[in-house]
Symmetry: C2
Subunit: 210 residues, 2 copies
């Protein structure tokens, strides 16, 4: 995990719910290893080694490498959905809520780009049940954004011929920030988030209501 | 390589320049293997096996696994740049040329999604010299799209405050099609291309000139 993925104090909030501390340390090590070498090229021995633990100690917390990937993917997808739901449920016009959703979702993908890449690119490595569970979370994520867009259309704020297709494109634009974002680049996660909120309002044909 | 990545006749046009046929067969096998298991989890023995050849026969054409990845990445990036240059240099207003660029670029990423994923996600696995060469091609790709956008701004067709940032977002939107595109999905590569051309004209604030 890069320095950019830590809070200024160095504490990693993404994995805050993972206890005990050894289990959390292993998860952070797994994200690093999967991001660097890919899921299939990483062994549980590599992960234990990175966490400064023995393979036997890893086994106490995770029975398989797939269990580690599932835990990472689950936490990542839960967090993404939580961010979008918060934006959906706040007060305000659809345009404000859509802009808010995009800003926070992009910020997360920029700040946590290493985690987000693992979550997005290693989906096929999950076992069938875990994969089905994550696919369902992704469906809910999509439905959340689609509802905001449809509300905007109903309110006459947005001009969108295909809400489903536009939802896929908006989420895709935001998710791909994890691929290209560079912590040494010219924009901060906040700045990319604000810029993308404007672009997305253009994509939905936003017109301020009189 | 999936069936969707073949022409209707089954011939693979992407690798047409690769000769002899054995070298081409190895490249196609390498794309499949890297896409399924990741670069680091794939051995030259795996690739030779998929191509129905011996490791010694592979070695005649490619000295290392990295050489295979570089060849794939180079061909993919050359093709992407070629597509965008053709759109830049054709006749027509900036809006027509930008729409054309997006349509062809998206179609390529949808049709060749397996190749595009390898090209995009395994960039870090290239050696330093090969990586620098590909980074330079990506810079040219970005510069091509940026020139079309700047021409549109100069002509008063587009309303873009930050051409560099908008260029990154437009290319990112198109490239990420390779991640989510599903040959069994509801839209064909052509349909996604046309839909995305409209979205991108919205992103650049296109207004038809009187």
């Amino acid at each position: 995990m890069s320095a950019a993925e830590q809070t200024p104090g160095g504490e990693d909030v993404t994995w805050g719910e993972v206890a005990p501390e050894a289990a959390r340390r292993l998860l952070v090590a797994a994200v690093e290893a999967f991001a660097e070498r890919g899921y299939h090229a990483t062994t549980t021995r590599d992960i234990a080694g990175r966490a400064g633990m023995s393979p036997a100690a890893l086994y106490i917390h995770y029975k398989t490498k797939e269990e580690l990937l599932h835990r990472i993917s689950r936490i990542g997808h839960d967090r993404a959905l939580e961010i979008l739901r918060a934006a959906e449920l706040r007060d305000g016009a659809p345009a404000d809520r859509l802009a808010d959703a995009v800003r926070s979702f992009v910020r997360w993908h920029a700040e946590r780009h290493t985690t987000a890449r693992v979550v997005q690119y290693e989906l096929d490595a999950l076992g069938p049940e875990h994969r089905a569970e994550i696919v369902e979370l992704r469906r809910e994520t999509e439905a959340t954004v689609r509802r905001i867009i449809e509300e905007g259309v109903a309110a006459g704020e947005f001009d969108v011929a295909d809400p489903a297709g536009t939802t896929v494109a908006v989420l895709s634009l935001c998710i791909d920030v994890a691929r290209w974002f560079n912590a040494q680049g010219r924009r901060t996660p906040d700045e990319v988030g604000a810029f993308y909120a404007d672009l997305v309002l253009r994509m939905v044909g936003y017109r301020a209501q009189k």
